[in-house]
Amino acid sequence: MHQGTFDLTLDQITKIEGHASLTLRVNNGTVTNCTFEIPEYKRFYTQAVRGKKIQAIPQMVARICGTCSNAHLLCSIHAIEDAQGIQPTKQTYQIRRLLNNGLIIRDHALHLYVFVLPDLYNRDSLLEFDESNLEEHELVHDAFAIKEAGNLLAKWSGGRSVHAPSPTIGGFLTLPTNGEQEKLVLKLELIREKVIKIIKIFEKCEFELREDVLFSALHDDNYDFLGKTIITAENACVPARNYSDHLKHVVKPYSQASAYTYEGKIFIVGALSRMNLSKDGLHKNTKKGASSALALFPSQNIFHNNLAQAMEILHCLDDSIDILSQLEIKEEKPVPYKLKAGVGTGVIEAPRGTLYHRYTIDHEGTVIKGDIIVPTGQNQIAIEKSLWDFAQNNLHLPKEKLSYEMEKIVRAYDPCMSCASHFLKLKIQQE
């Protein structure tokens, strides 16, 4: 029992993307402090982009994050194309969509199998699953097969699954080669049953933590992660380019990341928000294959972020099969453009939620100013709220168990610290 006064510090939260820690302070049976800290060191990308030519920006900002690299790549390309008035071709849109689908499949599978699944099976690591137990043996191999399928999809469409070299402003430097589409479809079809199995596992998972917060996501009618409008659970509808006007930066002095509220409210971005707000747009085969899971949304259970990610893997798989079955790559060069001065915004749904890039560019194509808002920064306050609420309601737990359960909550949010520590928001921090 810990009804009294104690401190709990978890220096290194494991099985997440990057470095994070948490501190809990309890005084006379009341939580007096609960912080989710991001000690990842800043790399100052917001400053580094200044003075660079726009052609160099996408590959540069992809280096903000290894796992989300292709999301930063696509988002920055969208922002620059917006500034330059470039309309990419339908083929470019389709290949970008496949690249993003590959990212979602690979990244969600990493989170679900490698980070979260050990909590469901009481193992320290996926690699320590009992290979003599058929169920556990299969899950290890399912993990590798699904991640690999996402990998292959991204490699074919973008040249590599991390920091893809082919996408560029206006199109692709190197196009995918014809003749591979059928093989990729086969690979995706082969993992479909495995994906349905992991959906069932997370559907049955009894982890629960309900939060009364605002959900927000970039919306489109066919759940393509590249939509044009932000919607929230309060039915607000905001053009994506105005998104940042609704966010307020909140300084967390113990964290090297930037936190945000949405119109002063605590909010959440990511798979749970997308599923809550856009599930009607899922692929018809996904709706059929995951019908009982679908009925659980909208949901306020934070742990349903895991289930929503599993369902998104299926959606990206079904969507990719459709695109690949009809896509014959034709030779085309990136759309030519004449440099002009202006401001451009890119907003996409990265695996962990809404990602926002904005660049101010001069008439020679040099970046004057860059702004980047990442999903984990937007979720930071909600993460702390969940940790605080859970701790207050569970002070009876032994310290070790309390710490473990709080780590599980952090994992459910799937934060990405590499993304969160890329930059600084100067005007507020100088206050």
């Binding site: 990057g18 790399r43 994050c65 690591s125």
Partner: protein, 155 residues
């Protein structure tokens, strides 16, 4: 059966692209490695991590603080072979963009350098410890990494 190779995978200031690439290599290589490798420390894969009796430590990222430098030294003391993984570990770029900033930009970010006790400059691993091997690239060169790990597994 011979003892498993005791491996550590560590990261400092970087985007962890090579760590991600490494987890992707497990997709196709884990069946071959599982009887030969033991992860003694790999924060991305497991919770129970130790820095002791490491045969090979792979270290991604560059060094931004004294605290990181101390941890790197501890890893070095406990590792037979230390391998720098990726551009940031080998060259301190691109994590070290701030090393290249002009005076005005440096001044602009100075309050954060002070607040979070950053080092004056972002450094590659070799500034602080002896590096036995390097796998360069951003992300690391996959073939070179496999070449290295296979050569260690053979010896």
């Amino acid at each position: 059966m011979r003892n498993k190779l005791r491996i550590g995978w560590f990261t400092f200031t970087c985007c962890e692209d090579s760590t991600i690439l490494f987890t992707e290599l497990l997709n196709t290589h884990w069946d071959d490695w599982k009887d030969k490798i033991e992860f003694v420390n790999a924060r991305i894969l497991k919770a129970n991590n130790k820095i002791e009796r490491l045969d090979v430590s792979f270290v991604e990222g560059s060094i931004s603080s004294e605290e990181q430098a101390d941890k790197l030294k501890l890893i070095r003391e406990n590792s037979k072979i230390l391998v720098a993984i990726g551009a940031c570990a080998v060259t301190a770029m691109p994590s070290g963009w701030r090393n290249t900033f002009d005076e005005a930009t440096k001044k602009e970010i100075q309050f954060l350098i002070d607040r979070y006790s950053h080092l004056k400059k972002v450094e590659p691993l070799s500034t602080y410890v002896k590096v036995d091997e390097s796998v360069q690239g951003c992300p690391m060169n996959e073939e070179k990494f496999l070449e290295f790990i296979n050569s260690v597994l053979k010896t």
